[in-house]
């Protein structure tokens, strides 16, 4: 049994220690917001937070999350809309939408470290892949989220 906190709730899972966190979330805990894309930590669709840091959960052993706080897209706003999600809706970012939970989790982590990122800092930090090509909308939304978090209405 591996014990971890997921979206603020203590969860116990009966899974092999080397099972990736992504598949524990999707198969054992029925949290399907984090997506499976490439399986080799390249596309970022599976990004979640472990102790506040973004990780590519397809390549992160569940044993390494034992005793830690995991936050997924489902728990990001704690029942409300997170500022980044609000900015994403205002800017109508998603197209097919499959990669967006990963992008949003990566953007939240970026804004914690860098509250007012430049375009270059956004490009350097968000290395996720979007096949629809929503990158420019994502950049606009990150700037807008930075403004909301900075107190703008």
């Amino acid at each position: 049994m591996i014990t971890l906190s997921v979206n603020g709730q203590k969860r116990e899972v009966d899974a092999p220690p080397d099972k990736p966190l992504l598949w524990v979330l999707r198969e054992d805990l029925n949290l399907v917001g984090a997506k499976f894309g490439c399986g080799v930590a390249a596309c970022g669709a599976c990004t979640v937070h472990v102790d506040g840091k973004p990780v590519r959960s397809c390549s992160f052993r569940v044993a390494d999350a034992a005793g830690k706080d995991v936050v997924t897209i489902e728990g990001l706003g704690r029942g409300r809309l997170h500022a980044v999600q609000q900015a994403w809706i205002e800017n109508q970012v998603p197209q097919c939408g499959y990669c967006q939970p990963g992008f949003i989790m990566a953007a939240v982590a970026l804004l914690k470290e860098t509250p007012k990122p430049t375009d270059a800092e956004i490009d350097a930090a968000l290395t996720n892949i979007c096949r629809c090509g929503t990158y420019s909308a994502i950049r606009r939304a990150v700037h807008r989220a930075a403004a909301i978090l900075g107190g703008a209405s």
């Binding site: 399907v32 917001g33 894309g37 809706i89 197209q95 097919c96």
Partner: protein
């Protein structure tokens, strides 16, 4: 090559059969209206026709029989209906309707005809006409080729206009005010002087036995459009931002099993047989199944099943007809065809107008075979049992998927149901049915259990 040949054959068949059967007329907008009970009408809702229903919660739900893969088609199609019935945009919802011929895509067949856009003339016109009629008869649900809005433009606006008329008559019956004294503004029935008569939600129980009118009312002129042509918030964005949008890979059913598939390493290859590296299957792996074009491991975890295919199974692969096919060989073939093959299409740019001095420029342009790579891996959820076959999948043609599934399962088409989820990318890859055959084979190996 095989695909193109198949498509030409199908379309050739349509045109041929159509030429023999000239004299019938299908495909009028009113024939695509659908009955008031067609569109999943639930308690607290009233169907207005096959394309739209209203609810006591004042929601207007529009049937969107095309796949949402990021192109915004759910939003665009909902706009067509909402515009003509004068609904308020924030009361509009969308839902995947059941498969029925009224939701067919006539335009995709016209678009698929083997003529270039430059070609005109009687033969082409007749072929287009026949394909239009037969598309209607055959009822193909499909999304692709930028055809969805073109196809829906008249039928869905007509459905909105017919729904508006029905609401006005229901409001008249409920209020005793003559129909010609009533209008709809912003999703509300009002008197001509602007006073409110009823919301849509308040009319759910007043529609009773009223039927859609037979001759559709006139549609709006473009200058009267309030929603069409305006940038409106997309209907699918909130769920996609909250992480609650259900893609095919997110379908969860009670007792769900997972199958991981290893496809043959060469085009057209098959798994001839396999050997387990250890005698018994480990806990969590239930079955190994040879499927068309590959082999699948079935178990309680996709991750475990996928790893087991690498670690626990030796597969005896039978190579496809072209085991050495690769990019370099393809270029050689293309070049040989260019040199010796018969032209498929020649274009004339009109009369030559040579300048006084000329210089010959020579260049070779190569465009690669593009990967139809979707962000969401190809997937299909299936349950086979006494009740028939049920599929949940991100796909671009439920009609085609149903045909392929019925053929693979050897059951009548009527026993197959296909549910279309959000698509994490489409690119035409999701109009292919290879994985349906694989999913059906796996589902039949675990009867009554969803997989």
């Amino acid at each position: 090559l095989r695909k193109w040949a198949r498509r030409s054959f199908i379309i050739g068949g349509f045109v041929g059969a159509g030429l023999l059967g000239v004299g019938f007329w299908f495909g009028r907008e009113r024939d695509r209206l659908g009955s008031r009970t067609l569109f999943n009408v639930r308690p607290g809702q009233a169907g207005l026709n096959g394309w739209v229903k209203i609810g006591r919660d004042n929601n207007v739900t529009v049937a969107v029989p095309r796949a949402e893969m990021g192109q915004g088609i759910h939003t665009a199609l909902a706009m067509l209906v909402a515009e003509e019935m004068d609904a308020r945009w924030n009361q509009v919802r969308v839902e995947d309707p059941p498969e029925d011929a009224v939701y067919r895509n006539v335009d995709i067949l016209i678009d698929g005809l083997p003529f270039s856009p430059e070609e005109t003339g009687t033969v082409v016109d007749v072929a287009h006409w026949v394909a239009g009629k037969l598309g209607g008869v055959l009822g193909i649900l499909a999304t692709g080729g930028s055809t969805a809005t073109r196809d829906a433009w008249l039928p869905m606006r007509t459905a909105g206009a017919v729904a508006r008329d029905l609401l006005l008559r229901a409001a008249s019956r409920k209020s005793g005010i003559a129909v010609d004294q009533l209008t709809i503004v912003d999703g509300e029935i009002r008197r001509r002087d602007g006073t409110k008569v009823a919301t849509f939600g308040e009319l759910v129980d007043s529609i009773g036995d009223l039927q859609p009118m037979q001759e559709p009312p006139p549609l709006k002129k473009p200058s009267e459009f309030k929603l069409i042509g305006k940038p409106l918030p997309r209907v699918d964005v909130p769920a996609k931002v909250m992480g609650s949008a259900t893609f095919g890979i997110d379908v969860r059913l009670p007792g769900l099993l997972y199958a991981a598939v290893r496809n043959a390493p060469t085009f057209g290859g098959e798994a001839k047989g396999f050997k387990l590296k250890k005698d018994a299957l480990p806990k969590g792996i239930e079955k190994i199944v040879i499927v068309s074009g590959g082999i699948a491991a079935i178990g309680t975890s996709w991750w475990q099943a996928n790893a087991f295919l690498d670690e626990g199974v030796d597969v005896d692969w039978q190579a496809g007809p072209e085991p050495k096919l690769g990019s370099a060989g393809l270029w050689t073939r293309y070049e040989n065809l260019l040199a010796e093959g018969k032209p498929a299409l020649t274009r004339s740019l009109g009369a030559e107008n040579k300048p006084a001095t000329t210089q010959a420029l020579e260049a070779t342009y190569r465009a690669p075979y593009l990967a139809h790579a979707t962000m969401e891996p190809m997937n299909c959820t299936a349950r086979a049992g006494k009740q028939g076959l049920e599929l949940w999948m991100p796909n671009q043609s439920p009609t085609l998927m149903r045909l392929i599934a019925a053929e693979a399962a050897k059951v009548p088409r009527e026993q197959v149901t296909v549910h279309t989820t959000f698509l994490g990318g489409g690119f035409g890859r999701r109009a292919e049915g290879d994985l349906v055959r694989q999913a059906v084979a796996c589902a039949q190996a675990t009867p009554e259990q969803p997989l």
